[in-house]
Structure formats: structure tokens, C-alpha cells
Symmetry: D2
Amino acid sequence: MRVGVLTGGGDCPGLNAVIRAVVRKGVQQYGYDFIGFRDGWRGPMEGDTVPLDIPAVRGILPRGGTILGSSRTNPLKSEGGIRQIKENLAKHEVDALIAIGGEDTLGVAAQLADEYGIKVVGVPKTIDNDLSATDYTFGFDTAVNIATEAIDRLHTTAESHMRVLVVEVMGRHAGWIALHSGLAGGANVILIPEQRFDVAKVCAWVESRFKVRYAPIVVVAEGAMPRDGDMVLKDESLDAFGHVRLSGVGEWLAKEIERRTGKEARTTVLGHVQRGGTPSAFDRWLASRFGLHAIEAVRDGDWGKMVALRGTDIVRVPISEATAKLKTVDPAEYAEAEVFFG
Amino acid sequence: MRVGVLTGGGDCPGLNAVIRAVVRKGVQQYGYDFIGFRDGWRGPMEGDTVPLDIPAVRGILPRGGTILGSSRTNPLKSEGGIRQIKENLAKHEVDALIAIGGEDTLGVAAQLADEYGIKVVGVPKTIDNDLSATDYTFGFDTAVNIATEAIDRLHTTAESHMRVLVVEVMGRHAGWIALHSGLAGGANVILIPEQRFDVAKVCAWVESRFKVRYAPIVVVAEGAMPRDGDMVLKDESLDAFGHVRLSGVGEWLAKEIERRTGKEARTTVLGHVQRGGTPSAFDRWLASRFGLHAIEAVRDGDWGKMVALRGTDIVRVPISEATAKLKTVDPAEYAEAEVFFG
Amino acid sequence: MRVGVLTGGGDCPGLNAVIRAVVRKGVQQYGYDFIGFRDGWRGPMEGDTVPLDIPAVRGILPRGGTILGSSRTNPLKSEGGIRQIKENLAKHEVDALIAIGGEDTLGVAAQLADEYGIKVVGVPKTIDNDLSATDYTFGFDTAVNIATEAIDRLHTTAESHMRVLVVEVMGRHAGWIALHSGLAGGANVILIPEQRFDVAKVCAWVESRFKVRYAPIVVVAEGAMPRDGDMVLKDESLDAFGHVRLSGVGEWLAKEIERRTGKEARTTVLGHVQRGGTPSAFDRWLASRFGLHAIEAVRDGDWGKMVALRGTDIVRVPISEATAKLKTVDPAEYAEAEVFFG
Amino acid sequence: MRVGVLTGGGDCPGLNAVIRAVVRKGVQQYGYDFIGFRDGWRGPMEGDTVPLDIPAVRGILPRGGTILGSSRTNPLKSEGGIRQIKENLAKHEVDALIAIGGEDTLGVAAQLADEYGIKVVGVPKTIDNDLSATDYTFGFDTAVNIATEAIDRLHTTAESHMRVLVVEVMGRHAGWIALHSGLAGGANVILIPEQRFDVAKVCAWVESRFKVRYAPIVVVAEGAMPRDGDMVLKDESLDAFGHVRLSGVGEWLAKEIERRTGKEARTTVLGHVQRGGTPSAFDRWLASRFGLHAIEAVRDGDWGKMVALRGTDIVRVPISEATAKLKTVDPAEYAEAEVFFG
């Protein structure tokens, strides 16, 4: 049995841990061969491969990024993309494919499995934690830790100067990173994409915080939007990867707060620091277990399935089910956090 | 309504986060008064209290330890202990008690609630993660991160000198810290209390690791024991808190490995570093949510219950049920990890 | 003897360590009294004080920021400022003043000492490390560590996506943070304010890096400027504290690199994260020693002097000498680093 | 010109940064060839080499340990050792040698240069910081940061339980790590090998600390000894590398404190965690600059010299001078720290 492995979409701490677990277990327990495809779906489309064996995965567990490279190439949007993949899988004698990626990558995997009969197993990945069917995705815990540490640091500068500090964190469609890092970092306001915010209310929280001689930290997800619709981003165009560029909501909000409250406000945009570097212990553990269970699904011939975390168990769910709906922040959980605002 | 709060047992990152959440929500949303009892059950027994209000909980979220102090005093083992508690609760006009602690502290809480009609709500705490009824306890993730970071550091010294490094981590009865940090740190052998280990097999893994020019890391829980029963600890007596002292299994194992393989071996005993200092983001989030739900249980008059994590939900379970049985490592999950040994 | 203490200018990790050392030694060894002035020179101008004794400095060593608050108030620019200071020092029976601050704060201190006979001792502070007469200032090492850790994290995301990552670090007039964190982080280009840069050369380095299948990291100080003068900052106005706002050189440079090389480029602006939070061990040590030597200078009546680091010794130099000239990066040291470019 | 490189003695964060700098500058600016010798002096004695070029040093800057391996082999103590080295240098056409190491490794280098005319340049290395002629050695700052972070964590557990925590850090002959981490971590007692300590005085400090309701942290260098000579180490034998084994002074002292004060005391022995893992930013900067200046010394034919840090400058000194005398803690600097004791 020869198994192909690819990683697609934005990079994420823990990808290498998945690859290592898949290969270690596949080779040692099942005697499989492996082949790596470079840069997500571009690899099998163009037949761009890289050797993948035990020595290739040594020492990669603590390393961020992916040794296979990544891209957002989508074979479904490319004339003849599926045919190319089928040809290249045949040419390299690949019996099964493990696709590690987010909504887009897994969406392709689901269609390849369901409509074209390709033997695919999926592993979910997104630092945004917005995939349904799994309690958590690896990368998220690392991102939250990095954002929390940054918020910890900003508290002291806020208080020494009695300034407002606005921290813009990742999350275009889901506010998980903002909610968790805001709660963990002791933020005084947390703003998420799921609920449009009221600038006047934000300013009221800011001012109530100053009244107790503490300086406020406002955590805002990059995709959060003001309720009143008067926000004009400096530069609204999305980049090639669909990310909002700098000069987004964080900077806008700091200026609004300055204008309305007369208090000095500063913005920090954490950006790509949140998705790089060594994974947290939790993410290494989760990614390793996802890898071990993915190769087990291959052995069981359980095609079109994706591994997922439920409580402390790793289970399998149909990929198509998992990618059907974005997992956004539950309004009740967000409401819970409001007791810490202001 | 006046609510008493106490923290018992070994300290644990996240205790302060629970206290803060309880007080913030209790005061702001329900208008409750609070009173802190010092040093676990010693506080209500001796009437040793400390004021607990919003200013008292400012800034404590990121701080390890507990502002209330802790001890292992057990009123059930003390003549008249229960009577003293009842009297002191009455004297301080305390209507309900929130007890934050591990097996022992919660065991007392369960009996007080079930047999003596005291209005108690519990919050589970143990860095060992060995409490049933909850997926995780706060403090565990922090401990695993600290141990993993130490293992990361030890890899380089092991490899530069081609030495064996034995890392002894916490876990007298359950191997959760060893298993998770060992997996996350890329250990080559993981030994847990749940399964007696075979020194000969450990040495075989050590030697197979050297064959690929990498140096082995052995992670051993303080409570792990060799299969053959020939281990003699230098100093077997437990300390007053029931912890095995230094010079335990880690040091013993390193000497055995040296003797049997002829390879140099060194031991690191992480000790109390694992339970101190600022909590990880996950532990701050979990501890805060536990606190919010505990005060909700008080409002609902849901006595004798404990908050618990199930997946991503906080639920309530009878304290007595939760403390009945130690949650040890599932043999299947341990077996999964063996693919990384050697 | 009663000694006043104030902290002025931008906050900086280590300020609290200085305050603690001054008070501990002053009280315990010399029997002095202390009084804190709030918010830099604003404190003595307006007579805004805070008690300062041993209990007040407990536990502040590892905390960033300053318990005394800070501001950029300059009494020399305020009608009657000097008179107010003299009156308030007399009113509070302050015999000597310890001023902890950067170029501006110390410039005021020097004039007060030299021209108005006020008994002042200075302690240098700037995360930018641009004060003459001292090898290092505390806060700098912390900032460099934070920036280096961010660069470490960005390497993996750069390489997984074969992108350019531009990291903008602090340093308006001096490139010390950029040079040290760039060297330590393995940056492929380092740009400093002391030398205008050539965008074409930057792009050449970027492209040569891609040729070896590694992705480039460009570290740029916020005050660095292109040689050709064609840079237009989106928003050139400085803020009230003299800092260039976001949307500065980093973002501009990323766009230029994209335009000229066709490679994707992203910017991370580390911002205030660099100056907040707990100080590094070196900064705590340096700040503590500065404090101990400052109070010794007070005891010796060595007015108008500032403590400074020379090698591993703490010495005293005239404040006026120390603030006369900005310490910028030595061209030879910068040239040394070029071997790592590209 | 072909240059050999070796690393000897205990491993140390920053070794790889030196190797990388030497090779980058040697190849790119001077056109030299390089060859790596494995495991310190064992490499040139046995002719055990490893290729060393630009690709070999990619990505090693942030990695602890040494890609060349290390050992404590001493050719001067081995019959015919010098002859073997000369033969192997000739056989591999090595024109000059860069030896990176501590007292022992450099002592050999000095003799090879001075008595046998071998063209050697030295780079000093020791985490203990006990080499004369240089302000600091790389590795020391990393060790101090790790120890300080551990002390930070132990404060909270000490205070929650009102316990004494004894932290044993590295330093057999010199107390630099203890002094710097103790100062930075806010220890209440610091004990160094340079001055025998008085257990009664240690207990007095411990008790005075409890009086202000704070729990004491005692930092003790592994080589510190009590004044009264009544210390009996459990296991006095040194290991093959000359390190005192576990069960040393820290554990002994904790028991003495318990016995004399009746307070609970715990010991943490940080051990090899202090010398492994990624170097701090300062150590990466210092090690890189040492490497750049070492290869410059080779180009200048400045044999028998060692690079050294003086203030912020890298200078060259005769190796023999640098290794003649151990740099121990200055009594005045130690006395300075006493104000923080108790």
C-alpha cells in the first residue's frame, strides 16, 4: 500500500506532527510506503512529489509550518484538475491519499471521495477553530497562547501610560481566538465577527475601566464589524489568500475610541506571529493523535472520512458533514464573557 | 446571599482565575457578598477569613498559586471538625460555600453536602488530571506545557553528548502528565504508574534509538514502578503531603540504564516547577468558565454538585460521583503512543 | 534623608526593579525615607505623590511597567515649572530626587542639577538602547528577546508559503533592536535608521534567498528610510508621544517588494508588545544594580550624575554628558552583519 | 585555505550559532573550505570528520547543542595524541583549526598553538561564565533566563503553601548563574561556591521572610558548601564529566532548613534543562559575533588567540592568558545582593 500525503491552506502549528505520526505508524505497524505531494493540491495536480519516510520525519514534531509546503490551489476550479490528479496518483502508484487542511482543502477531498471515487481520508486543520464536527483543531491552542502572552505584555504598558490598547487577532468569520485569548488575557472588551459591535458601548466599557484606575485592553477579531455600519477600512481589498490586510478594524477602532473618549489609544496587529513557530503541547498531542487515527482510517478503508476530537476521543465523521457549516461562537458562551467587560 | 470560597490541596495554576470569576459574576450579576476562607478547610474550621470583593480579585487572573492560601487540613479527621465549620459558617453568616480542590477537598465537600446538609458547590482542581467526570482539570495543561518545554531543551543536550536523559514528571497514581508531555516532547520511552515497566524493554528502546544516531529521552511519572520489583528507592518515605521525595524512580532508572547499557544517563526531576507560575491560556479559560458556572450553581441552589468539562461544555455532576474513582490512563491511549517508542 | 523617586518617558521593562532596589537598599542600609512622584515630572510639578516603602515594592521585580506611572511632561517647557518643583520638593521635605528615564527625562534632570542646584541622581532607561555613556540600558534585552521570538515564529510561516515576511520593530533613530533581533533571529535583511536603504538591493537579497528554497525575513526598524526618497508613508504624522503610527515603513516595504519581485509579502508590526511585560533576567539584573548604585550616589551626594554600565561594572557619569549625543549603530558592526544577508 | 572546526566540553546554547557564523563568513567573504571534526578533540585524534559548508549550517542558528557533537577527550592525556592530531590535520589538508570550548578544550588549544605550532584560534564557551578575559560567554544568559523563569514559577507555589523552596542551579566553582538568577528571580537567599555559607544565617533569613507573610526561595549553586563543614552529600562521587550528581547540596540544605526551622522545604534541581534548547537572543548575538571575529583572526593568522567580549566590543586575547585563572564572583558584587536577602 502506498499512501500520499498533502497539506493545504494556511500553515498551522502541528502540521508536521500529523505527518510524522502518519508515517511512523504507517511504516512501523502497517508496512506502508509513503509519498509526499508538495504545496497542497498543486502536488498531485502537477505530479510534484517529495520522498516521505521515517528519516524524513525525524525531528519535525516541534517545528511549525509544514515540510510538504502548502498552497491554496483548487483542482475543482481548474480545467482538467481532477483528471490530472487521477493520472498522477496512478503514475506514482498511490493507493490512498491523506489530505490535511481546512474547509477548502477538505471540501475538495470530500468531492474527490464522494464523486470521483478517490480514496481519501481527511485531517482537519485551522487555527481559527471554525470547523464543525470537531471540538478543537490543532493550531488554535498555539494561536491563543501567543495572543494571550501578547495581551499579558500589553497590560503593563497600558497601565503605565493610562492608555487604551486595541489588539487585533486572527478570525475573519469566527471569533474563537478573540474570545479565548481575550478571556485568558483579562481583556476588558472582546469583539467577534459573529456579533456587530456598538462603538458607543465599547467606549462606555473603556471609560468605566479608567474609573478604577486600570487601563483597558480591547481584543478585536480581524473580521469584527461595528453595528452602525460607519466603518470605512483604509484598504478594503483582501489579499490573494483572502486575508484582510493591515489597517483594518483594530486601527479604525483605536481612532474611534480616541475621538470619542479623548483617551490615547494604540493598536497592535499580531498577524502571522499567531500561526508560526513551535506548537503548544496540546496541539502536538492533538495533531499526533489525528495522524495516528488517520492512518488507521486508511487501513480500515474508511474513505471520505475525517478524524475529529470529541471530548478526549478521536472519532471519524464524513468529511462532507464536517465542512458543511462554519462553527461560529455560541452566543451563550460569548454572553458569559461579558461579565468581565468594562 | 453571602458565599464563602476556599481552595484546598496542592496549589495549581488557575485557582486565582476561578476565584476571580466567581466573585466578578457573583457581585456584578447576582449582588452576592463574598468571604474568603484561608488555607482550605482550615479556614472554616478555625474561622480564619479574608475579605473577598472585586478589588481583591483585580490582577490575579495570570497569577499562579492562590490568594486564599491552601492546606491539606481535613475536618473529617479532626474531632469536632464539622461542628466547628457549622459554627463558623453561622457566625460569619455564610449561606453557601464554594470549595475548589482535588479528590480530598472535594471528598470533604461531598460529605458535608450529603450528610450534614451544608450548601456546597465544588470546583475540581488537580494538575494530575486524574479526577473522573471531567475531561480536563485546569493546571494540567500548564504542567504539560512546562514539562514539554523542558523535554524540548533536553533533546539538544542528549544529542550533543549521545546521552540518555531521564525526565521525572509529576503523577503518583496517574500518568497523564507523562503521557501528554512525552508525546508532545517526542520522548522515546514513556513510563506511567498504571503499567509496571520492564527495564530490559526500556533498555532495548534506548539502544535502538542510539542506532539511528539520536539520543533517547525517557519520560517517567514519579509513581511509575518497574515490573520486576527490584527497584529500591533511596528514600521511600513519603513527605507530609504524600509526595515521593527526590531520589526516586528517575534517578534509579538512570542508574539501571547506565549499568545495563553502558551509556551515560542523566536525570532531571522537574518537581514543583510544574505546578507554579502563570497558567496557560487554556487553563485560564477553563478555570474562568468553571468559576462562572460554579456561581451559577450556587444561584440555582444546586448543592453537592461539581462543575465539569465535557467536550466544550461545562456541566454539573454530583461531587460524590466525581471523586469515587481515580481517572487513570486508558490502556488503549497508552498503547497508541508506543509507536513513537525506541 | 527623604528621597523622591520618579519614572518618566515611555514605559520599559525593569523600571519596577530599579524602584525596588532603590527603596530596599535606601531603607535597610541607610535608613532613608522615600516618596514616589506620579507620572514623571508631572508628579513633582503638581505635588502628586504616592507612598513608597518596603511593602509598596514587594512583588514588583518581575512586573513590567512602573508602579509610579509615567508621562512626558517637561517642566522646562512649562511656565513656572521649575518653581513648582522646588516648592513641592520643599513642601514634601524631599532632600534628593532619583529620576529614572530616557533622553528627555534625564535632560530635565541634568538642567535641574546643573542650573538650579536641585539634588538629582539619574538612572538611564530606554528600550532603544540609544543613550551614550552606558553599554546597555535595561528594557533593551527584553525587547530584543520578544522580537527574536516573533522572528523565529515567522520563519515557519514564510517557508511553508514561500512568502516574504517583513517585521517592523521599534527604533526611530537607532537600529539596535533591529540589528540585534535581526542577527539573533536569522533575518535575511536588516534595515536601520542610521543608513538609508536601497530597495533594489533589498529585492536582490530577497530573490537570492528564494533561490536556495528558503523564504526571506526582512527586519526593519520603524525609523529606517529608503535611499531613493520615494517612500510615502500613508500617515506621516507622529502621535503625541512621538511615535510613528502604524502603516509605516514595514507595510510600505512589503508592497514595494511585492511590486518589484512578484513575490507575496506580509508585514508584522510588533508595536507595544516589545515594551510591555515581564523583564528578561538580564534586564532585571541590570535594573536592580542600577537602583543599588543610584541610591549609593545619593548617599555620596554625587548630584548630577547618572549610573551606567561599562563592561560588567556600574559606574557614574555626568548626566549632561550622557544625554548629549544619541548612541547610534556603529557602521562597522552593521557591516559585520551583512554576511548573513540574502 | 581549509579550516577545521570542533566543539568540546559540555554542550551550551550558542555553539551552532558560532559554527554558522564561521562558515558563512569564511566561505562568502574569504573563499575558505571547511571541515568539521566530531566530538571535540576526539575528531582530529581519530580523523572523524563531517562535511561543513553553507547548506550544512542552514537553520542551525536557533538550535541548542552542537551539530558537530562534543566530548571531553583530551589529547594531552593520551599517548601519541598530539602526533595523531598532526597527522590527521595533514591528511585532511587542514591549514587552521577553530576550537570552541571551555577551560579544558581551550587549554589544549593553547598548548597545541604555543608548544606544537599548530595554527589554532579559540572561541570561549561555558554556561558557567567562569572564563577570565571575557565579560560574558554565550550560554550563560540562556541558563540564567531558564533558572529565573523557574524561580518565578516557584514563588507562587511557595506562597500558596508557605513553604521554603530550595533551587539548585549549575555552578561547581563559580556562582554566576546562582547570583544572576537569584537576583533576577527575587530569591531571598543566594549561596555560591566562592563563600562557604552559614546554615544558621540561612535559617534566620528564611524565618524573617515568613514574618512578612511571604515564603522564601533559596537559590544555591551546586558547588556551594556550608561553613561548618557538617554537610554530608548522599553521593559525593563526581560523574565522568565532573558534575556532582543529584542528591547534592540543594536536597541536603532543604532537610537542614526543615530540621532547624520546622518549616516545610522542597528542592528543585534544574539540572540539564539549564544548558539545553534554543539560545536567548543575547547568546545568539554573542555567539554569532564570536564566530565572525574568530574567522577574521584566522584570516589575520593570529594564532593562539581567543575572541572575547569587552563591553560591547569583540577583542582578541592570548588563549593561555584567558584560561590561566577561573573568573569567580567578585565579593563586592555578592555583598551588593545581600540587601535583598531575608
